[in-house]
Symmetry: C2
């Protein structure tokens, strides 16, 4: 049979599998602070800079607005962020952190170490992985 159509020959499948494995590693750790992985990513974007427009957040995370809008709504329902129409341009929705959202950063400080520990891989492999993936990601987009 066509060797290229075997799962073992696939290059992309390991990336797909690793991505899900990563989310599975994060899940129990993020559960302690009541966040999902995509929600954690949004929080990181906002902890770094706020307010930000819906599409600014979506662009940074490569998520289209069919994904980001309901994601932000769930986060607003949890009280982590607030949504405000820009008065100059009523099309724009500005996303800000609530007090509760800001305070979550302290609790989240332990997440990175916990994840590295749970994944059980060396920082060297991690860095090598990141460099290579970023290189390919930039080429592919």
């Amino acid at each position: 049979m066509d060797e290229e159509l075997k799962l073992k020959s696939q290059v992309c499948f390991p990336v797909y599998a690793l991505s899900r494995e990563i989310v599975n590693v994060y899940r129990p750790i993020l559960e302690e602070i009541d966040l999902t992985y995509p929600q954690y990513l949004v929080m990181m974007v906002l902890w770094e800079n706020e307010p930000q427009k819906v599409n600014e957040i979506g662009d940074k995370l490569n998520l289209d607005n069919g994904t980001i809008t309901p994601l932000l709504k769930r986060m607003a329902a949890k009280g982590l962020i607030s949504r405000k129409r820009n008065t100059k341009d009523e099309r724009v929705v500005e996303i800000s952190l609530t007090e509760s959202g800001k305070q979550l950063q302290t609790k989240a400080a332990e997440v990175p170490q916990k994840v590295v520990k749970a994944m059980g891989i060396t920082p060297e492999d991690l860095m090598q992985l990141k460099d290579l993936v970023v290189k390919i990601l930039n080429r592919a987009k």
Copy 2:
């Protein structure tokens, strides 16, 4: 602020982003043969060997049965596979290819080349990526 809580410092985010980018590259190519990416993976597993139990397929793709059962049902509804209870052990469901499912392999033969072309990355980078990801994936699981 905590450097580790910045998106730029994240190692896992690029993997997550690349995984979705890969699925997005596959989407229009697989659409021509009416498959989604997870469905394509199931087909590859079955083209290589059939019949297989539901959990055998799930184990190979690292998908739990909350995912794999509805996935297989949609594929059965499309007429790609058939589901048969094992007569020796009525708990087991054997998944086989239909004639239509077997014939799809010929049409799918062009998929790998199309994907490599659409991603626009070198085979060398791809191989290096695969080796590294597989190494980390094996450690993480």
